[in-house]
Amino acid sequence: MGGNMTDKDQYKIHQEPFYQAQGNEVTLYEAAYAARLPVMVKGPTGCGKSRFIEYMAWKLNKPLITVACNEDMTASDLVGRYLLDANGTRWLDGPLTTAARIGAICYLDEIVEARQDTTVVIHPLTDHRRTLPLDKKGELIQAHPDFQLVISYNPGYQSLLKDLKQSTKQRFTALDFDYPTSKLETEILSKETGMDADICAKLVKIGVAARNLKGHGLDEGVSTRLLVYAATLIKSGVEPRDACRMAMVRPITDDADIRDTLDHAIDAVFA
């Protein structure tokens, strides 16, 4: 039904998102897209994975459909389901189906959060078949030539339960992301928020201190995203120390010792 009528344009990105390349990831992605290879982007939270995909979709001028995965998500949430209406039932395409029909880049964010039986439905789309069977509807969709599948996954909180199956992993090419180097991150902050470089460098310094504590009470370091938040708060007139506490310390931990150490780091940096 509705698939072919979907307005492609609503999924397009019209304004260039700011993205600072850390290496040759842009070229690599372009090459992967040219061959329509599925891509996996790995890296800690808030290091710019989603922004990168957004940027590439803009650069390639293709629609982008993003799905944030969670553990309650089922295959039908991706593929589509029958809904009841006044005359009986009606089929509704899920985001993956829509993307395959219109030729969008389908971005499954934080794929490990989804249950493993859910992840399996993407398999036929990721190999030479490039098809998506809709069992319940009895339809086999041949993916649009522009369609590409991208997943992101954060190996940081990899527990035994939250890991991708080998059979899934081995269907993707992968790009590894990490927090940018201090110099680069400073640049990113000041370009993104327009703060002066001096303050940005200080924020990055606190961020680095927090990242050093990863695995010693912190599950994840302070992300670039949080640094951007802090810079934004400072720009809007908040006292730098308060901004740092609010944006960079309070969100990531309830551990009094860590909080104390990071608060001290803030005082030590903003003397």
Binding site: D72, T74, N212, L213, H216, G217, D257, T261, H264, A271
Partner: protein, 798 residues
Amino acid sequence: MEITTISDGQARSPHLNPLEEQPANRLSPQAGKSLVIPRAGERESESLREIQVNEFEIYWQQLDCGFPRVGEVFADCMQDALVKLSGEGVSAYIEYARFLGKMGRGAEPILIFLEEWPGIARKSGEDALPAIAECIRRMYKSPNGKAITPFLQSLPSVVRRLPARQQLQEYLNLILDLMERTTGSIHGIHQTFASPGLPSLFKQIAVLLGQLSLAGLKNWVDYGVRYYNDHPERQIDYFSLQSADSRAVLQRERHGTLLMDNERKLDMYLRGLWQDEDLLIPYSSMFDELRQPVPYYDNLGIRLPDVYNDMNGVSGIDRYRATLAHMVGHRRWSTKIFADNFSPFQRMAAECLEDSRVEYLAMREYPGLRRLFLALHPAPAEDACDPERESGVRHRLTMLSRAILDPQHTYKNAHVIEFAQRFHALMQEGDMNTQEIASLAVSFVARTRRQSDQLARTHFKDTVVSYRDDNRQMWHFIEEDDEGEVADQHRKMEPGKEIEGLPPRHYPEWDYNNQSYRPDWVSVYENLHPKGNAADIDRLLVKHASLAKRLKKMLDLIKPQDKVRIRYQEEGSELDLDVALRSLIDFKGGSSPDPRINMSHKTSGRNIAVTVLLDLSESLNEKAAGSEQTILELSQEAVSLLAWAIEKLGDPFAIAGFHSNTRHDVRYMHIKGFSEKWDDEVKGRLAAMEASYSTRMGAAMRHASHYLEKQQADKKLMLILTDGEPADIDSKDGRILIEDARRAVAELDQEGIYAYCINLDPKADEYVKDIFGKQYTIIDKVADLPAKLPQLFISLTK
């Protein structure tokens, strides 16, 4: 005491020697006349002395003291007293000294009083005398006369710590209270034995008041009185800070920031801000007042004082951070240089400037450190050191260091200003290295050298920078190098030689009488249980094969079934077809449909960690009633079956046994750990189980819980298998160990551990409820234990 103008000759003048002159004809007319105001003129000072000498004579008569040693110092003391005391004060002084002289306790009390009182009165006021006198009078009236001398000796240091009158009064009350409670009596009528702890306390009081507030001191004293009142030797150990718990209580009551409490924060500080890590090792800063140890680091770790008090508005934790920042600075930026080419002064200067350099670099990294360093770094007054009389090396270097740190310094010394500027200029050019700093230091020493630097008396005031380490890592010594390595090697353990058992862990014990913990009271030694023959256990299992079969059926019933369907969900993973159809029919039929047409799944796993704690006390060797087997053998069978059952279920579990021989020796025998499999190794240990000694349950439970609490499981269960009440030979009051065990159960509960007792004592009703509340079972017929125990476990965890 202070020695003032009167020379030795006069002090020993014949007038003042009571042995040579009759006291009767002292009050001569001249003496009275000499009190007239002296006439002015060139001989004034001499006449003043004369007057004083005569005046002393009157006082001497009033004092009426026959001790020659008193006579020797009397003039000096009077000189001091006349300066420091008022007219009334002097009379009271003489009068009270007279009392002390007549007291019959020898010359010591009066001597100490004469020498010390003027100084004390200066600090705490002359009106403190009656209170002190009353205190002494009470000692005098009791068998504690011997404590008077130490009491008087300790007074000056007490007054230094407690200058306010109110504080002094509280202190005196505390002393009297202690004395009354520890002075022994026979038949409750007469006090006949002196307080054993009192004199020891006076000897330690300076240390104690240095570490404790008055309230803390009171708690510390109370503890000692409470626990050692009937044990004179232990009491002395306690009050002279010899025993372990004495120090532990002291540590508990101390003021300041303890390293122990903040280790994690400081670890994080190192790791987070400096990407450095090392072992933080505390050293005691308590007992060495004269030579305070200095922080340092070596191959084994970073040594820091065990406690920092707040200083100049810098909190204790920030002082630790400043110290660590300084040491990390050295670790990052200092390189070793050869010491042999430098003189001691040059080395001192090089260390000082190197300290300044690493701090400069550290502050560039974290500008906020400047506030800490500025607050903690002393600022010696420029004219504090008299270069004619004392060596000013340290003083000059500290000034230079301050000038480098503090741009707003006010020093006028041309060298200090010049070298501070040179330092900053050089640092601007490049970061310099240790070698370059050393040459700057050498030229500073050369430019500022003075003859007096060689004097033995060095100016120390305001020259100690408390957060700096001793710089031992800065130097290479050509000659000592080889020996150093040899010494280090000796410390290492011989390869292949295993440690026998672990060092003891100390646990507190609850004292219900006072509703407080006795810290570090019990020592628990943990070791591997010796190994026996694993086949014995297999044989036991075979013996109970039919029982095992029955158990297996029960086990299969409670084995986790992974997926459970939850129906009637508005939001769910799948459509529940039955419900959906019904809804659709309702809908078509015109009535309102049930929207809960989805279903979802949930996994239900078992997530239980279990520790089985076995009482292995002597009583287990007895034959069980109505059975040929001992309780120990039956327990062995029961535990084997239980272990087999738990293994079948796949729950993580540990087994340990315990017994005790006084609080100093609680044995905790490891039989199976959580990570070990139920294999021959473990069965072997179980087979070798033996029983002896007593049952100190609380400590064993606390020790077991420190393993169990680290397990990641939703439910944590501790099964305690015992045949009697907690008891030990060093515990007279049987109630104490019961109450302690009860407390331990409460502690477990707070950690999320469910304690359950399986008691084999038919008379257990009397106490087991007190300890475990409702969480217990009494097995009257011990012969049934092998069957009952696994069943009990299964029903507990169903």
